[in-house]
């Protein structure tokens, strides 16, 4: 039950805001309710540390004979680190939101609180059935939040495509669970069978929320930065968390998955380094860091995968929420580069304790690209908000939100879970850091490392649009075929076709029985 309490601190204020919106639309204390709840949730999750590890098992589904796996959650080091990161992000979004000019504040706060609550439960899920339920809750919350705020046909379509892609990911997780029954019984994340590992990785990949590339908000929308960050990062971490819960046993598919993850990491890193600004580059940040997380998991380091997930949300969150030009805060953001370095005692120190083998150089290059890109964006934030014309409380709340994420990054390098106080890989980490420094140095001198022009960025989007159009054409072709079949069966000659099929089936059944 202790697992649920911090989440309730998010759900209850969300519900209160819904009621407030209906009964007192002009209430001025909505932000305080939301932030108070998020703060309580953030501090509440530290209570897990006192009794970890522990389980929370819901009343069993009945009949027991057909539902052997109970709905259960487990608070352990990995789930605590991930949940702490999510709570910190939600609190930070609300604190930094104090200065944003958003006309639909309460909607975005309700959405962020609900996403945070479901995300925290998802990272604590202890088996695939529980996880798929939590993922689905998260998907529905995201869909509702997006549809209620998207304003054009194109943006609504993006929201539905995003929902569909995530469902496809959940379907892979479910299939991994179903296939395990062909070998006897279902599994928990403490003992992932080798046949399920590949499906789990594909499920996580599909659920990262990268497709469609851009959120269903116009480029100028204030929702992109605050609520958009929650939409992007919480869903991604709730997915990556599955890789941190147990060891993925190598199978025949592992080298192929590692190859695709390496390509994705390099692509993400390169595009991230060359993105014109951090919000445009956010999908590539997610692709790059998530691919590094997958590589860690495939190399046999589940805590490394979880560490990358924490870095994705904490370092990324601090960067994406920064919208004020402030030299001191910009320099503080560089703390995120430390978290990405995998140096001893950093957040990602445990990332490469497994065996990377042939994929070592790819991971090295990708990590360097991601770190260099982070440094470049941290030193040149694109936001145009100002603290000067804000009330005193907002001038205090905004930096607190950014600093909170930086402190949590440092904290997770030192306490609370298996990845804390790790020396890590002493060959990989210095090499990646040096390479990243070289890239930062080179980006000021070599044109090829400079930000891509706008039409380059849209080219990647148009490639995906082309794929989408291709799928759509295929679907239309199939629809024509389906129409021909149904016309034949429902038309005048339908009875004849039916009799033909029946004769065929009878001969097959009779043959089988004989």
């Amino acid at each position: 039950m202790l697992i649920l309490i911090p989440c309730l601190f998010l759900f209850v204020p969300a519900l209160a805001l819904v009621i407030l919106r209906a009964t007192q639309p002009n209430a001025r204390y909505g932000w305080l309710v939301a932030t108070g709840g998020a703060a309580l949730g953030f501090f509440g999750v530290f209570a897990w540390l006192a009794v970890m590890p522990f389980d929370w098992i819901l009343p069993a589904w009945q009949p027991l004979a057909v539902f052997p796996t109970p709905i259960s959650f487990r608070a352990d080091g990995v789930s605590w680190a991930l949940a702490t990161s999510i709570f910190a992000l939600i609190l930070s979004i609300l604190l930094t939101g104090a200065i944003r000019r958003v006309s639909v504040h309460s909607f975005s706060w309700i959405g962020a609180l609900a996403l945070g609550g479901f995300g925290a439960l998802a990272v604590a899920a202890n088996n695939p059935v529980t996880l798929v339920l939590m993922w689905s809750s998260l998907d529905l919350a995201e869909l509702l939040a997006q549809l209620s705020s998207a304003q054009s046909a194109r943006n609504n379509e993006r929201a539905v495509i995003s929902f569909a892609t995530r469902i496809a990911g959940s379907a892979f997780l479910l299939w991994s669970y179903i296939t395990s029954f062909s070998n006897g019984s279902g599994y928990t994340f403490q003992s992932i069978p080798s046949s399920a590992g590949a499906y789990l990785v594909i499920a996580v990949g599909l659920r990262l929320g990268v497709f469609p590339l851009h959120l269903p908000y116009d480029a100028g929308s204030a929702l992109r930065r605050g609520f958009g960050t929650a939409l992007r990062l919480v869903g991604a971490v709730a997915s990556l968390g599955a890789l941190g819960r147990g060891l993925i046993v190598p199978s025949g598919a592992t080298p192929f998955l590692a190859f695709f993850a390496s390509v994705a990491a390099l692509y993400g890193g390169w595009m991230w380094l060359r993105s014109p600004d951090e919000l445009t580059g956010r999908p590539y940040w997610m692709i790059g860091i998530a691919a590094l997380s997958v590589l860690s998991a495939l190399s046999g380091s589940p805590t490394g995968a979880a560490a990358w997930a924490c870095a994705l949300i904490l370092a990324g969150g601090a960067l994406f929420l920064s919208s004020v030009q402030d030299a001191r805060l910009n320099r503080a953001l560089l703390g995120g580069a430390w978290s990405l370095s995998s140096l001893p005692f950093s957040l990602t120190a445990s990332a490469w304790t497994g065996s990377l083998g042939f994929f070592f150089p790819f991971a090295l290059a990708a990590q360097a690209l991601m770190t260099a890109g982070f440094v470049r964006h941290a030193l040149r934030p694109s936001g145009d908000d100002s603290l000067a014309d804000q009330p005193a409380w907002a001038r205090g709340a905004y930096p607190a939100g950014i600093v909170l994420l930086l402190i949590v990054q440092l904290l997770l390098g030192f306490l609370g879970w298996d990845s804390a106080l790790q020396i890590g890989n002493l060959i990989f980490a210095p090499a990646a850091s040096l390479l990243a420094l070289g890239l930062v140095w080179g980006s000021r001198r070599f044109r090829v490392l400079n930000p891509a022009r706008a039409h380059w960025v849209s080219a990647a989007g148009s490639g995906i649009n082309g794929m989408y159009q291709g799928l759509w054409s295929m679907y239309r072709g199939l629809a024509r075929l389906g129409l021909a079949v149904t016309d034949a069966l429902e038309g005048e000659g339908g009875i004849m076709w039916t009799l033909l099929f029946m004769a065929l089936f009878i001969s097959i059944i009779a043959g089988g029985i004989q």
Binding site: L133, I178, S182, W497, I513
Partner: protein, 465 residues
């Protein structure tokens, strides 16, 4: 008072009286209340057991004789009757919100009473006749007065009528097989005849062409009721067959034939559902795919077959009633029900479109919703038996999911989105809201169905062994 009078004669008489004496205004409430009361009686008052209330003692006797045939309910039938009449009550209460109370409620009560009689009749082969009479009563429900029946109605009646002689004939042959088990030729012939009979009743591929045609021709609510009632009672009838002739179930070829007929039905229903551009036809194909799941459950070689089959059967009534009600409301605004006609409707009818999507997702097995636990149980058992069959069933349900996403995209996409507003009446919104809540409740806590499931092994004791 005997049980058959309470659960067969009473609803039939009530339906007749509503048809002739009541108007639209009260039909829905009275019909729904009667069904709800019958459901509560079935749930709380045991059959064939003396009850003492104060100083009054009474007992519901289990059987009556009519023209030498017996109609009999046992105490194990109670939860099943409660579920049947409970779901019927939902349909009847929703009829007013769907705008078709009078004829629907009266004929609906009569149909349910006849179908209930098919569970109780002895010798049980007479159930085929009762199913046929119920199918005939469906016709006036589907076709308004003074209107010529369409091709779908005609085909429905033809196929249901074809089923009856096949089943009666196979029953006669099976008795011969029991007397002479070594006669493989008769066993083969009876198996094929029986398969044909149930193929017509279940509307397996390609005999289901009448379902999408009906969705084109008739009101969604009436067709939805038909798609709930007939397959559910046919499953119970089929379970009775398998329970009586256990060797049928134990013959691996017959069990496989049932299973793969279900797989083909689920796959074709799911894929064709994904390719439709008409909300009504999508509904029809989804119902077909789900009926395929029932067949798969019947073909499983697991002792938990009954639990799995009824876990899928019970939420179907709620899913279809919610979906059909939402479709009826949407049809008033977009009569043709084409996807191109419903663009942007989510902002104008948010409760109806939301409920439709929830019901559709539930039928596709979306987690959190009522359809998920039963699909999960089915997939677990099926993958232990045949992973390839499980994959095909999975793909079939993925087709339903694609159709749900297409419908959702159509509802929310509009070039100039209108303002959010609520155009459903309070009654409609309440019915839809309660239905959607029910789907979430069963999806998260399927154990709420346990009171209905726990007595099933006693009903079909040979299968359960």
């Amino acid at each position: 008072m005997s049980a058959p009078i309470i659960w067969i004669a009473l609803p039939f008489i009530a339906g007749t009286l509503i048809l002739f004496l009541l108007g639209d205004k009260y039909a829905s409430q009275i019909g729904g209340a009667i069904a709800a009361i019958l459901s509560l009686i079935a749930l709380f008052i045991p059959i064939d057991a003396a009850m003492l209330i104060g100083s009054v003692s009474f007992k519901i006797s289990p059987a009556i004789q009519v023209f030498g045939r017996a109609f009999e309910f046992t105490s194990a039938d109670g939860p099943l009757l409660a579920a049947i009449f409970g779901i019927s009550a939902i349909w009847f209460f929703g009829a007013d919100a769907a705008g078709m109370a009078h004829r629907f409620v009266s004929l609906g009560l009569m149909i349910v009473s006849l179908l209930t009689a098919s569970i109780a009749v002895e010798p049980f082969l007479y159930a085929a006749l009762l199913l046929e009479v119920a199918a005939m009563l469906v016709v006036p429900l589907l076709v308004p007065l003074h209107q010529k029946p369409g091709r779908g109605v005609a085909r429905f009646l033809v196929y249901q009528t074809f089923a009856m002689p096949f089943i009666l004939f196979s029953g006669w042959m099976l008795a011969g097989v029991e007397a002479n088990p070594g006669d493989l030729r008769t066993a083969l012939q009876s198996g094929v005849t029986l398969s044909l009979g149930f193929a017509f009743l279940f509307a397996v591929f390609p005999l289901y062409s009448w379902i999408p045609q009906l969705m084109d021709e008739s009101t969604p609510y009436a067709v939805g009721f038909l798609l709930w009632a007939l397959p559910v009672f046919t499953v119970i009838f089929a379970l009775g067959f398998l329970d009586r002739y256990v060797w049928l179930k134990n013959t691996s070829q017959i069990a496989d034939a049932i299973l793969y007929a279900g797989v083909i039905m689920t796959v074709t229903g799911g894929l064709l559902c994904a390719l439709q551009r008409h909300l009504g036809r999508i509904f029809g194909y989804a119902a077909i795919a789900e009926t395929g799941l029932f067949l798969i459950a019947l073909g499983l070689r697991t002792p938990n077959l009954l639990d799995i089959a009824f876990l899928a059967l019970l939420p179907r009534g709620l899913e279809l009633s919610l979906w059909a009600l939402a479709l009826s409301i949407i049809k008033r605004k977009a009569y043709r029900l084409k996807l191109s006609d419903v663009q942007g409707l989510a902002r104008v009818y948010p409760v109806a479109t939301g409920a439709l999507i929830i019901a559709h997702l539930s039928m596709a097995g979306f987690p959190l919703l009522a359809g998920f636990p039963s699909r999960l149980a089915l997939w677990q058992a099926l993958s232990a038996q045949s992973l390839s069959a499980a994959l095909w069933a999975f793909l079939g349900l993925s087709g339903l999911l694609v159709a749900a996403l297409r419908s959702l995209a159509s509802f929310v996409m509009a070039d100039a989105p209108p303002r959010w507003e609520l155009n459903e009446t309070r009654r409609q919104a309440a019915m839809l809201g309660i239905g959607a809540f029910g789907l979430f409740l069963i999806g998260l806590f399927p154990q709420v169905l346990q009171p209905f499931l726990s007595s099933l092994p006693a009903l079909f004791e040979h299968i359960a062994q």
